[in-house]
């Protein structure tokens, strides 16, 4: 059997893996990436991007329904779900082809098949029953994650879906149950609701989008309810019984009261599990903890030469976290090997990873929530500015939303920023830069925000924390 030799091999070509591979190739490593399915991983093919394509269709449809608000006439409104889905799949295919091009451009060998560690420096890759051997000085595990399922909450792909099935629906459900109100659950709830489904969201905790600031959760819940989404918090689904073309769901409220509901389809979005199976972790004594590979701050595992990044290493499960980890790790590996051009290398500060949810209204945040900041012992100053008071938001017809800032009263550190409303996912980077550069309220106040933009609200929310807001 022939053995291919590389300096660095990445197992998995998602946003962590392919970015790590590009950086490695740039630094002169002979690099390969192993992918069992599609280049770009879940993010490009079954996650971040195809859902954004669907949600864009939903947004345009929403605007069409409200055409009259803008003085426009739109008649005979409707949608073709197959075409909406086809557009999303086309975009996924286009982006995956883009990754293939990037791999070629950077002279990265793409090896198709299921990879598994044979030793800390060897991988076997199986494709259609044929095995090849790969040897590498450094191996990066970037195998990602998949939808979490529980014994009583199992997806069959027909009646009960995970995100994967919900992206290519086999019917337009009239009644839909979404289990879990994290980013994935809420985005699908938002999409199917916009297209007219009767959507119920079940959340085990006491509020939707529980990782977000409480105030933002409350506003989100209020908005979802006004759009017709039914929300049951403090509740869990205890059983799913599949009938011929519907599912009987038993929902138990905290405290014991249970009810039954018959729906066409169910989406399970209760979190994700790392892909740690069948890749040779146990055989090579690589430390894992509850379904995740354990790494140090750089991404090194307990075994020399084996590293891991992205979802397989644990939360937050975000593509941009995986990519960033990939770059840092590869640069660290290069520096350890004596590359003197690598400077200013720092481990990632997890407090500076922004999070975005693309439901309507959008939600975006970075840093500590108000509650978390108080629990950490900070005396906080909180600033708020509503969309309603921003000229551009009103002109856009998007008067619903809030920008909220949390400062440390003592030092002026921007501890966190939380936003809900139109386009906030495009704005959060401003506060992320502020946090990364360690600005205080002073520099933010001195920053000139262009008028008329929705970003002016970011300025006002800073001013408000110091009782200096101008337009509210």
């Amino acid at each position: 059997m022939s053995v291919q030799k590389f300096d660095l091999v990445v197992l998995g070509s998602g946003p962590g893996g392919y970015v790590a591979a590009i950086r490695a190739a740039q630094l002169g490593f002979k690099t390969a990436v192993i992918e069992r399915e599609n280049l770009g991983g879940i993010c490009l093919n079954w996650g971040c991007l195809p859902t954004k394509a669907l949600l864009r269709s939903a947004e345009v449809f929403h605007n069409m329904k409200h055409a009259a608000d803008y003085g426009l006439i739109a008649a005979d409104l409707g949608f073709d779900l197959d075409k909406v889905v086809a557009r999303s799949r086309g975009i996924a295919a286009q982006l995956s082809a883009g990754i293939a091009h990037l791999m070629k451009k950077n002279k990265i060998t793409v090896i198709e098949g299921q990879g598994s560690l044979v030793s800390p420096s060897k991988l076997s890759v199986e494709k259609d029953g044929k095995k090849t051997m790969i040897e590498a000085t450094d191996i990066i595990l970037a195998t990602g994650a998949r939808a979490k399922q529980l014994p009583h909450l199992q997806a069959d792909g027909n009646l009960v879906w995970t995100y994967r099935h919900a992206l290519v629906p086999n019917m337009m459900p009239k009644k839909l149950l979404v289990i879990g109100s994290g980013a994935i659950g809420i985005e699908f709830a938002s999409f199917y609701n916009e297209l007219g489904a009767d959507v119920t969201v079940i959340e085990m905790l006491d509020r939707v989008m529980p990782v977000e600031d409480e105030e933002i959760s409350t506003l989100a819940e209020k908005s979802f309810k006004s759009q017709g989404i039914k929300i049951k918090t403090n509740a869990s689904v205890t059983s799913l019984k599949n009938k011929k073309d519907s599912v009987i769901c038993t929902i138990e409220a905290k405290g014991g009261k249970s009810e039954q509901m018959e729906v066409d389809r169910v989406i399970i979005a209760i979190g994700i599990d790392g892909n740690v199976e069948n890749i040779g972790l146990e055989e090579n004594k690589i430390k894992t903890d509850r379904g995740h590979v354990v790494t140090d701050q750089w991404g090194h595992t307990n075994i020399k030469g084996i590293h891991a990044i992205g979802d397989v290493t644990g939360p937050p499960w975000l593509a941009h976290k995986a990519s960033h980890e990939g770059v840092i790790l590869v640069e660290k590996i290069a520096r350890d090997k004596g590359n003197k051009d690598i400077k200013n290398l720092h481990p990632m500060d997890k407090g500076n990873i922004p999070g975005c949810t693309y439901c309507r209204p959008q939600v975006a945040s970075v840093g500590l929530t108000e509650k978390a900041a108080k629990e950490k012992g900070y005396k906080v100053r909180v600033g708020r500015f509503p969309f309603m008071a921003n000229g551009k938001a009103i002109a856009m017809g998007e008067p619903e939303g809030l920008v909220k800032t949390v400062f440390d009263d003592k030092t002026g550190e921007l501890l966190g920023a939380h936003m809900i409303g139109a386009e906030v996912t495009e704005m959060i980077q401003g506060y992320t830069i502020a946090r990364t550069l360690e600005t205080t309220e002073t520099e933010l106040m001195h920053t000139i925000f262009p008028h008329p933009t929705m970003s002016e609200m970011m300025h006002e929310a800073v001013l408000d924390a110091y009782d200096k807001a101008l337009h509210f």
Partner: protein, 418 residues
Amino acid sequence: MTIELRMPALSPTMETGTLAKWLVKVGDTVESGTIMAEIETDKATMEFESIDDGVIGKILVADGAENIPVGTLIAVLLEEGEDLSAADAITADPIAKTPNAEAPAPTTPVAVTPVIEQKPVAKSAPAPMVSGNKTDRLFASPLAKRIAQQNGYDISQISGSGPHGRIVKSDVENYTPSAATNVAMQCISGDAPYVEIKLSNMRKTIAKRLTESKQTVPHFYLGVDIELDNLMAARKQLNSLSDDYKISVNDFVIRACALALIKVPEANVQFHGDVMRQFNRADISVAVAIEGGLITPVVRGADQKGLRAISDEVKDLAKRAHEGKLMPEDYSGGTFSISNLGMMGVKQFQAVINPPQAAILAIGAGEQRAIVKNGELTVATVMSVNLACDHRAIDGAGGANYLAAVKMFLEQPSTMLL
């Protein structure tokens, strides 16, 4: 194109360096591998090699310049065909200006060994404390500046770990103000004449780390006496068999400490905030006194090494330590430390833990003492040792178990063969 030569990061923890000495001058031709300068890091003096070929076009920091952040432009290399004028346009990074460059004071450090600058201080006019790294522009995040101001720190005394040596919040939070104020007090009240000795980077590191250890690590101490007669006999026998090696008592102690760490794993730990680390290997740091301070090279996997291997390794490490030629990987890490002052006649002492390690064994001299055995007075060779433990990671009973294991191995050295 001219090639910019920047202050290299010569160890993982290096944030700033002292340019001890240039070995090349403007106009010198260098090639890949030419040693251009000696750079003093926080731990050792290292050689700065060229990785390119060319001619030195400009030198931007003088011999003896201190606290140069990693990444600062220190010199310019001209490529083939370029003349010296190509380097004219290049100016030093603001932070790299040295006291020498700014004010050619009579106290210019001696070019060869600028470590100790002796300067008599007149009683009537105490010398003002001028910071070594006076800069035109200081790079610090707004938050770092504000926290420094709130704590009354002089931010120019804080070294930056951010991009291009920028001072960030964590640098200020981890900063411990130096004892500058105490020295100032001494200037005012003390009548005794003195000389000021400039701190070497090693001295600064020792001061910073050990202060941090004593202030943040809750030490407790356990002492025990160990009878060495069996060990001395075994040592004598081993050393009489060959002239190729000479096993010392300290070599036995290293091996015993390592084996005891494996036997009592609750002592082979480190405290890391939310978690503890328990090591599966015993890496023993051995304190070596060298000129101007001390350094702790590491005997890695000492539990898996025989006495001869340990002996050879310690000799090599100590030799290189004295020559200032230890590499960062020689002295970083380590799961446990040993400090031996027995050869200097010290009967017993207590050592300061070397963080993030959780324990250190202080070894006194082996000497003949009168002891009572079975109700009778007799003579034995006895060595007093004292274990300092980090109470966050090791409890009294765990420390005692560990010490008992060390004692057992040293008193019955044949058990080290098991």
